[in-house]
Subunit: 435 residues, 2 copies
């Protein structure tokens, strides 16, 4: 009888737990329009969608009451397109949040950038085009300086030049020896490098070794999960050897590691949205991001804007979705070069007729974030959007610019991750929801 | 053996279930831009932020096609400020929701007002400036009338005047005797009072005793958690004694209790946002709310608008963030006094130059909710906002008013809780999210 009672209680407890989980899942599902929700509505047709991303497009005026870079640029073709489009301003991550390139693009691709976070290590690998395997562990490394007591005196080793970095990576590669583990050490830029460990049963649940402050010793890593004890031991052995190998170097005589991570096992873009998808991007970071979610990266040679639009034209029949990435709007924004950012926007504008000649069903023109020349940095400001399709319900926007887009039909600050569902809808690629 | 195996499986299943729930909760946390998310991005600098709250600012016109209180007011300084700002209308809690003062302000302070709910008892304590200790149990009380059968005939005892209330509170204080428990009974207003119990191991998980209907007996409280059995017994003993002490009073011969609660253990505003923060407010409720989340309350004497701006000036160097609260816009709104509400807005407008003289990096001007004179009550209407900073990306708003703000760059109904992240971003106090 006692046994039966215990079983009964156990049964009750389980039922209650299942119920809680069920409620939890139910609530989650009901409240958000996530990839799974959209994916179930996807249907096929022959339509074509182009997502044209001018990196860091949004800007600010240099003077009080002045014009932004986009407002200054002479863009007759984008203005004409905006008149037959629905426009607006999108928020990549959230109000007030300045996105990195990863979150900025993931939002445009329809992935909630707070849910889908790329580890620093994976992003570093992505950024230099390192072909990360599913079980690899990646970390972002800094060359740093420590004093005779072993305390960190410079977390960036005086920002050593990339050439010195390459020399040190070679030195480490030649001398590190951890049985059973392949160790890859690759230069990223200046004091930054990529560490990749490849071996059996490696796990990324381990802590950073960068103490993020001076005058303390670099940290040893620690596992945050029992499955990572072995990996932590391997990383600490790597650190021991690296310290020894670098001991006579100046100023870079130590390494600090951050953001241990594995290639994420995310839903793949082509499957989620039912789109055979191609990325046309010249920079490794963006090619890597597109690759992470399963897009094909088309071959680029000189990386000019003209080349990117030619590649688009030459592959038009092979894909349903094209992500075209223009880098230099962001680069000039970060340089604080207002006029050159304007010129790049004008150059893209001049390519718009060749895009229209292909007769896409849906065109999105936007950026992954703002990079105002005034701030010389990514910023939190919402990003202008053009959404063109035959069925877009055009608004009253007369030109393509920050202030004009504020009055647009998409609203003055709508979530970037809603652009993909809108694009699919305009391409007639989404079924009705519910009967 | 078989039994043991089953138990083991049961244990495993439960562990796995708990883990799933945990993951589920974890994931949910990761997807939203909550205090934790923002807090991780906060960095320090010397910028200063002013949040100027005109309580109940939003309004309605008295006549068809007429102007609201704010639109009627002659506000040359706010209009001028709005031209170099980004404007909009914020929703304090949600579309259609009329906020109380607690949720209205918590939203402005960046706290999701649906997640961070203040118990009625704590709010009553806050409202009269009662210094609640961490383990105190507070409840909102009504003096009520019961008939000879003990049934409630008036839940508000004919809205007895505050003077009578004070007399009854004294009577109760002098005669209640519960060994081991300090009992505080304080007048709030008219029929409302505050009950605070201070003792060992008191817990607030107990039910209201107000039946919320007439012709039934007041309820005894019940524990909703095993840890509150003792507290429920104490409250029921208090009710027994109070009924006896008040038995010959007319019309207030009984008490009803609601909203048993403890001082919440919330993230503190200065730590979350990295801001040394001061509240400049003359009414106890708002001083109490600011105190609950860890702001310093600056000393106020006569409570005039001029005094508040003087206190701001005199403390300018000591803080990073100032919450300045103007009460009378709401009071006149609740009185249905359209013209006096207009006059208060004009008076605040006249103080704006002295605010600008301090050269704040970010200025927010808004309300905690609307209080249209037409409705004589808080309302659900979105509230006008000015957000000024050098980097705000000014929109096309030409003046400060409900209709003008609808075309603002912040949008026509954006969440109040996004104002703090926006203010921090404009003060350059947020790091980039993701690489």
């Amino acid at each position: 009888m006692a046994q039966r009672l215990i079983f009964f209680h156990s049964f009750l407890a389980k039922t209650k737990l299942y119920f809680t989980i069920f409620q939890c899942i139910l609530r989650k599902k009901c409240e958000v329009m996530d990839l799974e929700f959209i994916s179930k509505l996807v249907k096929q047709n022959n339509s074509k969608i182009v997502l044209l991303v001018l990196d860091g497009l949004g800007g600010l005026s240099l003077e009080k009451d002045g014009l932004t870079e986009l407002e200054t640029a002479n863009t007759p073709n984008l203005d004409k397109l905006s008149k037959k489009s629905i426009c607006g301003l999108q928020i990549p991550v959230g109000n007030g949040i300045t996105p990195g390139s990863g979150p900025g693009h993931l939002g445009l691709f329809g992935y909630n950038p707070i849910k889908y976070q790329v580890g620093r290590g994976v992003l570093a690998a992505t950024g230099i085009g390192f072909d990360l395997k599913p079980d690899d562990i990646a970390a972002r490394g800094n060359f740093a300086t420590i004093d005779e007591n072993g305390d960190v005196t410079d977390r960036r080793a005086g920002r050593i030049p990339s050439e010195k970095n390459k020399e040190l990576c070679r030195l480490l590669c030649e001398n590190i020896n951890i049985p059973g583990v392949d160790v890859f050490i690759e230069t990223v830029k200046e004091y930054r490098f990529l560490l990749v460990l490849r071996g059996k049963d490696l796990k990324s649940n381990i802590l950073d070794t960068d103490p993020q402050q001076l005058d303390v010793q670099p940290l040893k890593t620690k596992p945050t999960n029992p499955d990572s004890v072995n990996t932590a031991d391997i990383v600490n052995e790597f650190l021991r050897q690296a310290k020894d190998i670098l001991k006579d170097q100046k100023p870079a005589n130590m390494v600090l590691l951050r953001g241990f991570s594995e290639k994420p096992d995310w839903p793949r873009f082509p499957e989620v949205f039912g789109l055979k998808s191609a990325a046309i991007a010249s920079y490794p970071m963006y090619r890597g991001l597109a690759g992470l979610i399963g897009m094909d990266n088309l071959e680029i040679k000189d990386g000019s804007i003209e080349e990117e639009f030619n590649v688009l034209k030459n592959n038009w029949e092979k894909y349903d979705f094209f992500f075209v990435h223009i880098k230099k709007t962001d680069s000039y924004g970060e340089d604080g070069n207002f006029n050159s950012k304007v010129k790049i926007i004008e150059q893209v504008d001049s390519m718009i007729p060749s895009l229209l000649d292909l007769n896409p069903d849906v065109i999105l023109v936007t950026g992954d974030h703002s990079t105002p020349s005034l701030l010389k940095y990514h910023s939190w400001h919402p990003v202008p959007v053009i959404l063109y399709s035959k069925y877009c319900r055009a608004d009253n926007c007369e030109s393509f610019g920050e202030r004009e887009c504020m009055k647009g039909g998409l609203g003055a600050r709508f979530p970037a991750e809603d652009l993909m569902p809108l694009a699919l809808a305009n391409a007639k690629r989404l079924e009705k929801f519910g009967a």
